[in-house]
């Protein structure tokens, strides 16, 4: 794998996380527990879609085969998607959505903070912009973990279940393969393993304040970064890509 190939792969991981999670959040629009949440969830989704556009455009540029952001988003099949399994998990109830968001935001925040110092100025620039948004995302999802964990008996039970259900998808966030390692070595990407402790610190403190119990470290589900996804991703893409697939070469 050449340096350019690794960089392209790395950018796809960044963009696909944002694309798929933004898509999941957009599914809530009009169905959330209160109007204020319709607004807030849509805001986060819009930020993530915006980040997707930036990362994917850069990925297309790096690849150099004339694929723009839309071609990359709408015309790749599931095996070519590089997002982590966590973000493609179905929304479930509001607790599951917020637990997923909190786990992701805490990691995303730490990651972008590192990438802000990337040697690749294009990456540093996108990361700096994204970091501002993600700082707010984290504040909000953390707040919801607290409110639901320490709210009513029912909300506590639901948030605890959500955390238990999603825990096995968090390990993948910190696993490095040759792509991550190459990028970290060159000072372009972040050392993912090094993000684990600060992430755990933040998650532990939040769980404690929210009266929640974190599961023991255990087996991690993995594969998303290599294109081995859950069954859910195919359905996301069936929705996302429907028009582009049904009407090839049309412009919209």
């Amino acid at each position: 794998m050449t340096g350019q190939d690794a960089l392209f792969e790395y950018l796809l991981r960044l963009s696909d996380n944002a694309l798929i999670l933004g898509h999941r959040l957009s599914e809530w629009c009009g169905h959330s527990p209160a109007l204020e949440e319709d607004l807030a969830l849509s805001n986060v989704a819009l930020d993530l879609i915006g980040q997707t556009q930036l990362w994917l455009s850069l990925a297309g540029e790096v690849e150099g085969k004339g694929r723009d952001a839309d071609k990359l988003a709408y015309l790749r099949d599931a095996r070519d998607f590089r997002n982590v399994l966590l973000v493609e998990q179905p929304n479930g109830d509001f607790a599951l959505t917020m637990a997923r968001q909190f786990f992701f935001d805490a990691w995303h925040y730490l990651l972008l903070r590192e990438l802000k110092g990337s040697k690749d100025a294009r990456i540093a620039e996108i990361a700096a912009k994204g970091l501002k948004e993600v700082t707010y995302h984290l504040e909000r999802s953390r707040d919801w973990v607290l409110r639901l964990g320490d709210g009513t008996e029912e909300s506590h039970r639901r948030m605890q279940t959500a955390i238990d259900d999603l825990w096995m998808y968090t390990g993948e966030l910190f696993e490095s393969d040759e792509v991550d390692q190459a990028m970290a070595r060159e000072g372009i990407g972040a050392d993912l393993a090094a993000l684990h402790e600060p992430w755990l610190g933040l998650v532990r403190a939040t769980a404690e304040e929210a009266t929640l119990t974190l599961p023991q470290p255990g087996w991690a589900q993995r594969g998303g970064k290599r294109g081995i996804h859950s069954e859910h991703l195919g359905y996301i893409l069936a929705d996302l890509q429907f028009l582009q697939r049904a009407y090839p070469n049309a412009t919209w």
Binding site: S26, G30, D38, G50, A69, R147, S155
Partner: protein, 331 residues
């Protein structure tokens, strides 16, 4: 327009002589274009009518999120997806401003939502039609938001301060929505033959329901006359419908699309388009709950509300705990 056939509870228009001194002073202020503010005295019928009208408008924004939301996950490009999501989000925002405006009249958002969920409160008939293709998203922006703007622009001058101010904010966003709808139609109309057919099909299905949005002729309606006297309705339904047709037909021509009305023709003498008869039977059926999506729309709304109850309760419980802890700390 998002409020249709709003009843005022009056059976005739009072003359100034019939009015109490308070009613007369109120009407004088309205006549002089002085805004009525929440704490001021107002006739009970004015207050109740406004609650009905504003809440119907708010409910329409909220229910209206569904037909458009139906295409958020299937929007054809990242940019279209972001624009559509932002638009549906704006509608949630409009609902919020409008519920706030209604709350200044002494009713809570929860009460209004209960009325919506129970089927007692109405919302605009248009949102009971399905969005079957991507072109429907364009047609809604172009036609439905276009029709809404016709009504809402004059309502910026309505007599009730909070409603008029909500309208000012809403109109700014609605005109952006209409432009994005037209832009979708433009892309389709200039696109492949399949895309053009999709655009024409959407116009065929949305044209008549859009004309119905203005409501049946209200030239003889005592409710409309009363609402106009109170300046919470500015133009008659027929006036607005005509204005809408006059504005929209050239836009359809520019797109190269055909308005599905064989009776449509320019009347040089009137300086307006003549157009065919609206099927008011269909309109009354849709208003009565028999439209293609009435049950689905309401069920979806109730489901979101009920499934969100535990979340709202948790947020309240957490806020109460936090406040109690802060009090203990302060003591």
């Amino acid at each position: 327009m998002y409020a249709q056939m709003v009843k005022t509870g009056v059976d005739h228009i009072q003359s100034k002589e019939e009015m109490s001194p308070e009613e007369r002073a109120f009407q004088d202020r309205v006549d002089a274009d002085i805004k009525i503010e929440p704490k001021e005295w107002m006739p009970e019928a004015y207050r109740k009518t406004l609650i009905r009208q504003i809440s119907q408008h708010a409910h329409s924004e909220i229910i209206g999120m569904q037909p458009e939301g139906n295409w958020i996950t299937r929007a054809p490009t990242l940019e279209r997806k972001a624009i559509l999501l932002a638009k549906v989000q704006d509608e949630a925002g409009h609902g919020l401003y409008l519920y706030c405006a209604a709350e200044t009249l002494g009713v809570s958002r929860d009460e209004l939502l209960e009325q919506l969920n129970s089927g007692k409160a109405k919302y605009s008939s248009i949102f009971n039609y399905p969005t079957l293709t991507w072109a429907d998203i364009g047609a809604i922006g172009w036609l439905v938001d276009g029709a809404a703007i016709m009504n809402q622009v004059p309502l910026q001058r309505c007599s009730y301060g909070p409603y008029s101010r909500a309208m000012v904010r809403i109109c700014k966003e609605e005109s952006f929505h209409q432009r994005q709808g037209y832009d979708i139609m433009m892309k389709l109309a200039k696109g492949t033959p399949e895309q053009k057919a999709m655009a024409q099909d959407a116009l065929n299905r949305w044209w008549w329901p859009s004309l119905m949005m203005f409501g049946p002729s209200d030239a003889e309606s005592v409710h409309s006359a009363q609402s106009m006297r109170w300046k919470i309705k500015i133009n008659s339904n027929d006036e607005l419908r005509q204005k809408f047709v006059d504005q929209t037909v050239p836009q359809a021509e520019y797109l190269g699309l055909t308005v599905p009305d064989p009776d449509l023709k320019w009347n040089a003498e009137r300086g307006h388009y003549d157009f065919g008869a609206v099927n008011w039977d269909e309109f009354y059926q849709v208003v009565a709950g028999n439209g293609p999506c009435n049950r689905q729309r309401l069920r979806t709304r109730v489901k979101a509300y009920e499934e969100g109850r535990w979340v709202r309760e948790a947020a309240d419980a957490y806020a109460a705990k936090k406040a109690a802890r802060a009090q203990v700390k302060a003591a």
